[in-house]
């Protein structure tokens, strides 16, 4: 204690030390942001016409949220050292629940509520199967992925459904409208990102998420309800998958039963590129959101640079493998 009082003249030293500590602590996020800027600069140089126009940024802000909204809660699932592959089908299952409810009640809001509820229940089911029955989450959620896609195909008879009725409610401008030049899905991504950040870093729930993922045995010994924490993270993914599915369908004003199919790869890539470890215990919302936009930038960037779009999948796959491999190497180095 005394040394702190006496150490006043030392403050420039402690200042630089706290600066290096700051750098070390946020090194991953800083590096990721720099990588994003680098990729963007590269595309800007390759294809200045595309990347100097507003249109590309409008479309990025509009479409990135379709998977970023799920990548945010999925980050929590990965931090607790679990996995969820079912969200692609839950996106469609949520909108199917909307569609059925609307057909019966002719009420858009009730339908929207049913959509969120259906997603939440699907997420809870994942959580219960994993936590209460002890099924590895990778296997359990591949199962529920097929299950919910099957349910959607059965209830829709494989047919798409128009959703133009939503246009007459405030839900339409609220979810896919614009504020000035900014599309609403982007704003929702930032809003949910901030909420998730807050709960992860400033709330007991987030503290328990980190502890559960880091060492589930220690957390249980110290009285953390690890089962409930895990179930809650799965429930959040379900809820947000349904929400995201609704936003996508509203944007198209049409519900395809195959909705969500193309989002598995870029959602997972966002979480892993964002620095969330498959080994549990570490990860940030900031990383996931920045990584989602980097991932989203790659596809139009490749096309605008004059390469084949087929490269996209190869690059996404490479990003997942490389970031997971890097995590394994870093983990061995520091433990």
């Amino acid at each position: 204690m005394n040394s702190i009082v006496e150490g006043k003249p030392l403050s420039p030293v402690t200042k630089t030390r706290s600066f290096t500590r700051f750098l070390r602590r946020w090194s991953l996020q800083i590096a990721l942001t720099l990588v994003g800027i680098l990729i963007w600069t590269f595309f800007l140089w390759r294809s200045p016409i595309t990347f100097k126009s507003y249109a590309i940024y409008n479309s990025l802000m509009l479409t990135t949220p379709f998977f970023a909204l799920v990548a945010i809660p999925l980050t929590l699932v990965i931090i607790v050292k679990e996995m969820d592959l079912s969200f692609t089908s839950v996106m469609a299952w949520g909108v199917a629940a909307y569609s059925i409810t609307f057909r019966v009640t002719q009420n858009v809001w009730l339908g929207f509520l049913a959509c969120l509820l259906a997603g939440l229940l699907a997420g809870l089911l994942n959580g219960l199967i994993v936590v209460r029955l002890g099924v590895p989450s990778l296997v359990a959620t591949i199962g529920t992925q097929f299950l919910w896609r099957g349910v959607v195909l059965v209830v829709t008879n494989g047919q798409g459904v128009g959703m133009s009725e939503v246009k007459s409610t405030i839900l339409y401008p609220l979810l896919v409208g614009k504020i000035g030049p900014i599309p609403m899905p982007f704003i929702w991504t930032i809003v949910f990102g901030l909420i998730a950040w807050f709960f992860l870093n400033r709330h007991k729930f987030g503290a328990h998420v980190y502890l559960t993922g880091d060492n589930v045995e220690s957390a249980r010994l110290m009285g953390v309800n690890t089962g409930r924490t895990k179930i809650l993270t799965f429930a959040l993914v379900g809820l947000m998958a349904a929400f995201s599915g609704f936003v996508v369908s509203e944007q198209l004003l049409f519900f395809w039963p195959t909705l969500g199919d193309g989002y598995l790869l870029n959602t997972l890539a966002s979480v892993f590129l964002g620095g969330t470890s498959v080994f549990g215990g570490t990860g940030t919302i900031f990383g996931t959101v920045v990584a989602a936009f980097i991932i989203a930038l790659i596809n139009p960037g490749i096309v605008a640079s004059g390469w084949m779009a087929y490269w996209t999948q190869l690059i996404y796959g490479f990003i997942i493998v490389a970031s997971v491999a890097l995590q394994a190497v870093l983990r061995r180095k520091f433990s």
Binding site: L211, S218, A219, M222, G223, S335
Partner: protein, 258 residues
């Protein structure tokens, strides 16, 4: 005699394995009990029943200050004033020091919002006092995984101490510690006695246990094999009996067996 903690007829089976078999065990107030026994004797299982981590098989009863505790849970045991320093330290390696100190008992308001400032301040205070960390490289934000074995034990002990326990359980606290770190740990047990609190001290090493305890309980293959007040027998006698129990399952000579 007034018991702080009393277990009556406690058994615990995991599938086909019986870890504890009709155990009666008690701890008096301001008593230091040494719990000895070989690997697999059931020491850790006994601890985990006392802390509410495992429920005992039906028929077993747990009393705290003569009050029967049903459906004991980890948070309940902690609220009662039972703290444990686990063998494996029960730390989360990638998390910061303050998150480890307050693991499962984060300071928060009634909405669950964390009082991070309060927790880092308390941690800093504990570092300077109880933990004796002097290096400026360590801060409340340092992750525990970078600490040495002794430092990690310091964190685990300090955590138990901070929450003002009435009964502190040390599960093989000297495992993997250096000579000076072990000495510090044993002084800590003396400190518990002086503070008027109770302690269960579990260790393989009777040379660590004998000097600091009031009473010794020997556990063998899930049952209580013997119980001695320290003044009843010398360390050499105790050692001999322990060897015998490891070989034969009997503490005393066949002729004198209880």
């Amino acid at each position: 005699m007034d018991h702080l903690l009393q277990l009556k007829n406690v058994s615990k089976t995991f599938g086909e394995v019986t870890a504890l078999h009709h155990v009666n065990f008690e701890v008096g107030s301001n008593e230091i009990v040494g719990l000895l026994g070989d690997n697999g004797a059931g020491k850790s299982t006994l601890v985990k029943i006392i802390t509410g981590y495992h429920p005992p098989d039906s028929g077993g009863e747990i009393y705290w200050k003569s009050k029967k505790m049903d459906n004991l849970s980890v948070p309940m045991a902690r609220d009662m004033g039972i703290e444990v320093v686990y063998q494996e330290r029960a730390l989360a390696d990638q998390q910061s020091l303050w998150r480890n100190i307050f693991m499962g008992r984060e300071l928060s308001n009634r909405w669950g919002l964390l009082d991070i400032g309060g927790m880092t301040r308390e941690t800093q205070k504990l570092m300077n006092t109880a933990m004796g960390f002097t290096s400026s490289a360590v801060s409340p934000e340092s992750s525990v995984g970078t600490f040495s074995g002794g430092e990690r034990q310091g964190v685990a002990i300090t955590r138990a101490l901070y929450f003002e326990a009435e009964l502190i359980i040390l599960d093989e606290p000297t495992m993997g510690l250096s000579l000076t770190e072990t000495k510090k740990c044993l002084e800590f047990v003396d400190g518990i006695k002086a503070a008027g609190k109770s302690c269960i001290f579990i260790d393989h090493n009777i040379f660590h246990v004998y000097p600091v305890v009031d009473r010794i309980v020997v556990l063998d293959r899930g049952t209580i094999a013997g119980m001695y007040m320290k003044n009843e027998l010398s360390m050499d006698e105790l050692l001999e009996r322990l060897y015998r129990v490891a070989r034969t399952g009997n503490l005393e000579d066949n002729g004198k067996a209880a």
